[in-house]
Structure formats: C-alpha cells, structure tokens
C-alpha cells in the first residue's frame, strides 16, 4: 500500500540483537506521539510493532520495518530474511511457539506474539516462505 503525501520511514532490525530489541518500536511510538496520534492508537501500534520486531530479533537474520502514516491509518510492513513460518495458522494459535530457551529468558516465546499483533491491529496479513523469510503487514486505523 502506498499513498501520495503519506509519511514514510524505514528502520533496520538485526537478528539476535537483543540489546537493541524494542528500539525501533519505541522510536515508532515516539514519532506517533509527536504527530499527535491518540494515546490508545499509539499504544496499539507500539505493541504490534514491538511483537513484530521481537520476532525478527528472535528468529530472523535481519529485517526491515517500514512505517507509513496516512490521515486514516498507520501501516507497518515488517519484512525479514529468515527461516519463515511453515504453518501460519498454527503460529497464530495462542500458546504455540518454537522459541528457544534464550528467547524465553528474555521473557518472550510464550506463543502470544502473532495473536497479540492481531489483537492490536485492524488488519494483519502474513506471507511467508519457508527458508526465505516472512512479510508481516499490519494496519491500525484511527
């Protein structure tokens, strides 16, 4: 989705970079706050973005987050190079997880990531190719 005159910003996310994990979503949150988006909407976007960012950090080699802001909605496109998701339907189930011990030590890998993104978005589309990567499209309407 692209729209004339929309605000756009790209961010890089590195796999295994637990030190910086959450920095991109925090920055996205600050941008939305600065342009005056309502607090409840900012919170939904931030939570969805954070879960998507953590997925890249935990599972992929690297990824990008593209933020697009239009008068009607916030659009996030999270693309990664990684193992991909073999069974998206299964991954969407609460509690299903393929997380490692290290990810669990960080407080993640409870199988709530994708369900949390769905809960906090108005539209969620996931495309994934096993062995190649995953593309997660998130829309939150104002």
């Amino acid at each position: 989705m692209t729209e004339e005159g929309a605000f756009r910003r790209n961010f890089e996310v590195l796999g295994e970079d637990f030190y910086n994990a959450g920095r991109v979503s925090t920055e996205i949150k600050e941008i939305l706050q600065q342009v005056g988006v309502a607090a409840t909407t900012v919170r939904r976007v931030a939570i969805a973005a954070y879960e998507a960012e953590m997925n890249v950090v935990m599972y992929a080699r690297r990824g990008t987050v593209c933020l697009e802001l239009t008068p009607e909605l916030v659009h996030l496109l999270v693309r990664d190079e990684g193992p991909g998701i073999e069974d998206i339907e299964l991954a969407m189930q609460e509690g299903y997880s393929t997380a490692t011990e290290r990810m669990r030590e960080m407080g993640f890998g409870a199988g709530m990531g994708l369900p949390n993104i769905q809960k906090n978005s108005d539209r969620l589309v996931i495309h994934s190719t096993a062995g190649v990567g995953t593309e997660v499209e998130i829309e939150v309407r104002f």
């Binding site: 637990f18 994990a21 959450g22 925090t26 607090a39 931030a46 407080g107 993640f108 709530m112 369900p115």
Partner: protein
C-alpha cells in the same frame, strides 16, 4: 494509589525515579512473561515482575506502564538501570515474592487488570 505508598507497602528500595514517587497507580499486573504483559496489561497499570532485563523496560515503555517493581529481590544490571533512567521510568525492588507482593497491594484496594 501513589507509587510512594506502593514503596511503603512492598518495603521497596527505589533504584530509579526517586523524583517520580508521586506517580498515580490505578491497577497492577503481576507477570514474568513479557508477551503476556503485552497481551493483558492495561495502560497506567504498575508492572510487578521477576524478569530483570532490558526487555522489561522496553515492554513497560511500549505498553504505557508508569513504573516497574522487580520482585524476589532481583536487581537489574547497570545497562537496564541506564535504559530506565533514559526513559524516565521508575524502578523499585522488593524482596517479596510475586504472589505476596500482589496480595499486599490487592488487599489495599488496588485492582488487577482483569476485564477492565
């Protein structure tokens, strides 16, 4: 309830945010899993957790959590404290276990995040 009152009830040590103890706490969420925190915590709820790392601070920032109390006497490392200071997030530490800490606040009338 003010954070100052939480500090007294849970016998906390204040690590960061000494100047923010007048922060108003409307409810509490006790949880060690950050994904569960993101799923269930409400904005303006205090987080009680045993997960002492940067992700706890990041999660608090993302989910509009005004302060974090680390339970079981767990102390954050310098980097985690530095991140909390950068974000202006008050961090407190209590020696109480999670259940006891939640129970004390609940018995003083601070509700949980259930169905709100």
């Amino acid at each position: 309830m003010k954070l100052e009152e939480v500090k007294r009830i849970l016998e906390c040590e204040v690590i960061t945010g000494h100047d923010r103890l007048d922060t108003e706490i409307k409810m509490v969420c006790g949880c060690d899993l950050m994904s569960d925190v993101l799923a269930f915590i409400k904005a303006d709820a205090l987080l009680l957790t045993g997960l002492v790392n940067r992700q706890a601070i990041r999660t608090a920032g993302v989910a509009d959590v005004p302060a974090v109390v680390f339970v079981r006497g767990k102390r954050p490392d310098e980097e985690t404290v530095a991140l909390a200071e950068e974000k202006g997030l008050p961090i407190l530490v209590t020696n109480l276990l999670l259940y006891e800490a939640c129970g004390r606040l609940y018995s003083q009338g601070v509700p949980g995040c259930e169905g709100r």
